[in-house]
Symmetry: C2
């Protein structure tokens, strides 16, 4: 049998058990991170694809960097009072996910340090793992990473980049405060470390004012920033973007060529067409009005049904709420042995979201792709079984 | 300045000079490998995208492996009298290019041996380079790789995979004979080495009978095989496929998840819809009728205008014809210094297509995306200047 490369490791992220129940009509799944099917601008996209397909060039190769007029529109969308971006600072990618792969590919030799928030996005770890980094976890507070822990890490270890989801973090929903954004940039500059900013949920703010992105505050070329149409338009199109200074963008574009030549000309043309005809911010505002109701339905139900020993985050946007169980509980074992078979509720257990400590007592819940009644019923079922379980000392061993 | 990973090397593939002339209306470019814009089934694809966009599921996430009904149709398309494939043996990818990246990612540690045909496809080298292989070149004969050279390499070096384009090879147009297909598989089995079969041009046969693919002849799970809709339907859609045994397909699918989560649900649904409504073989036959005329136009013009010291291949399909100049000529220097500025003709020079020997006296010409008159004029200009150049001893130093 041919030997695989060292980067290939057997993986068990605790999600395969959920698939065994996927076809059970009684299952209520809070596990996936899907936008709501009913909120896609389906007719508008149909019109845009139709228009794009009147030009045969949409079916031809185009360029690795991606359609320039679309990059210009993205640049305008991400510009703010702090900084104006332009098309030449942007590379189009297959969702933000490809930006994670390309950035790690650009920077990481086996053993190089990568700082991640703890917990963090599972898909980022699966992108980074291929380059065999040494992970350092930095715990999260209500206003983002604990920067004293970060500084200690940067002082004592060689780190290539700091991976952060500053807006409505996956899985906790927390947002990095403005003060911490400035402090984080100062640390990156002082220790000459890249910040990889991943912000697919940035526009999904339900209250308060948007904070400037790390990219817009960066004056020393220390930020590579990722965005995506997946959460604000459609994940089925697979289009995202990467913003970086030229010294990074040029080799990242070469890596994109090697990965998959370029993104789909048709998809790029159709999204460009959609953005010409429609104000995406109007669409985003409509989504946010629906999502905030779902989030509040979930928060109210958690308040009502969860036992007092389980705490949960209260985000102001995004896709997720994060529950913390008593420290001795393993949410993955609990899911497999009790919650899936008895309560027919699914969630993402936290163990695989902490690449070093594997803290197992966390639960990620998604609220965007279920109707309000289902959210209420699912949380009720989850709360009931957690209440029962946490009363019984034997579950402390799960 | 943050240090890049060791895999990032400065690259000069000799193609950047062509871009300086790209906007010159007098330029005739045989450099790109584009299918013909006029041959896309544009209306049929428009109808297919329209139909797919009546279902909001086309805009949602689906699966890393890709749409099962499309995988089943691909399996039927690639099945032959030797072997019947099924959907579960297939992973959908971003063009065949992503299959090159994923396979190297699965198998190659820095320094591991990779055998390539000499010359080979530049994009494959740019995919493989990221995993820092040691390349071994195997020279090409009219009927494919020189297997005695290959055997010597396998006897004396540790090799992870043999990369081959068996049908209408890029850049030479040569096709691996049936006898050599069997012999190659025997070598792969004997030395327990993977064959990476890359066959995007397979269906573009202008005469003779199709030979069984290496995948269809493989009885010992030694072949990973790549195909693509890019050359038979549209490269702007970015959809290809990878065929492999389960022990490879499962980790390759995990790598695909980390690379970009999945291919576009919409694009997969629309191609599936197109294949339901239309016989792609009828479309392919129509393309082949147009391409064979273009190829013969080019071959006839080469016969007429090239000096006798320049030889060229005579393919029976595909996209390319390969010219061999006298050994002392550097086709890249010649392109930059004489042919682009004076004759306004572009081609791909061979230096970067040989990763070890950098043999510089070859030229790749594409014939698919130009009309017949332009092919004739371009070859005439190329022949005229090559005749002049090769008469002058000073060009021997180029």
């Amino acid at each position: 049998m041919v030997k695989f490369a060292d980067r290939i490791q057997p993986c068990d992220n605790g999600l395969s058990d959920i698939f065994a129940y996927a076809n059970d009509p009684a299952l209520i799944s809070f596990a996936a991170g899907y936008p709501n099917n009913h909120l896609f601008p389906q007719n508008e996209l149909q019109t845009a694809f139709n228009a794009s397909l009147t030009d045969s060039a949409s079916l031809q190769y185009s360029s690795a960097a991606g359609l320039k007029s679309l990059r210009a529109k993205i640049a305008a969308h991400i510009s703010d009072t702090k900084r104006t971006f332009n098309a030449d600072q942007i590379l189009l990618t297959q969702g933000a996910q490809q930006g994670l792969d390309l950035t790690a590919k650009l920077l990481v030799n086996p053993g190089d340090g990568v700082v991640v928030e703890a917990p963090t996005y599972l898909g980022a770890l699966s992108a980074f793992d291929a380059y065999q980094p040494t992970y350092y976890e930095v715990s999260l507070q209500d206003d983002g990473m604990d920067l004293s822990v970060l500084q200690k890490t940067l002082m004592t270890h060689s780190v290539k980049f700091i991976y952060t989801i500053p807006d409505f973090q996956n899985p906790t929903g927390s947002t990095l405060s403005l003060a911490k954004r400035h402090a984080l940039l100062q640390l990156a500059e002082r220790y000459d470390v890249i910040i990889l900013e991943d912000s697919p949920y940035r526009d999904l703010r339900f209250s308060g004012d948007s904070l400037p992105s790390l990219a817009s505050l960066d004056t020393t070329d220390h930020v590579i920033s990722l965005g995506s149409f997946s959460k604000i338009l459609s994940p089925g199109l697979r289009l995202g973007w990467l913003v970086a200074a030229p010294q990074f963008l040029q080799p990242l574009t070469e890596l994109k060529l090697g990965n998959d030549v370029q993104s789909s000309t048709l998809v790029m043309n159709a999204i460009d067409q959609y953005l010409t005809e429609h104000d995406i911010n109007t669409h985003i505002a409509k989504m946010n009005r629906a999502y905030v109701v779902k989030m509040n339905t979930m928060l109210n139900a958690l308040d009502r049904y969860l036992p007092a020993t389980v705490s949960f985050t209260k985000p102001t946007g995004g896709f997720f709420i994060y529950l913390t169980l008593p420290a001795e509980i393993d949410a993955n074992q609990l899911l497999k042995q009790v919650i899936l078979p008895e309560a027919k509720v699914a969630y993402v257990p936290s163990g695989s979201l902490f690449p070093v400590s594997h803290q197992a007592n966390g639960i990620r819940l998604n609220f965007t792709n279920l109707d309000n009644d289902t959210i209420e019923s699912g949380v009720k079922r989850l709360g009931k079984i957690l209440t029962a379980v946490l009363r019984q000392p034997k579950y402390a061993k799960l």
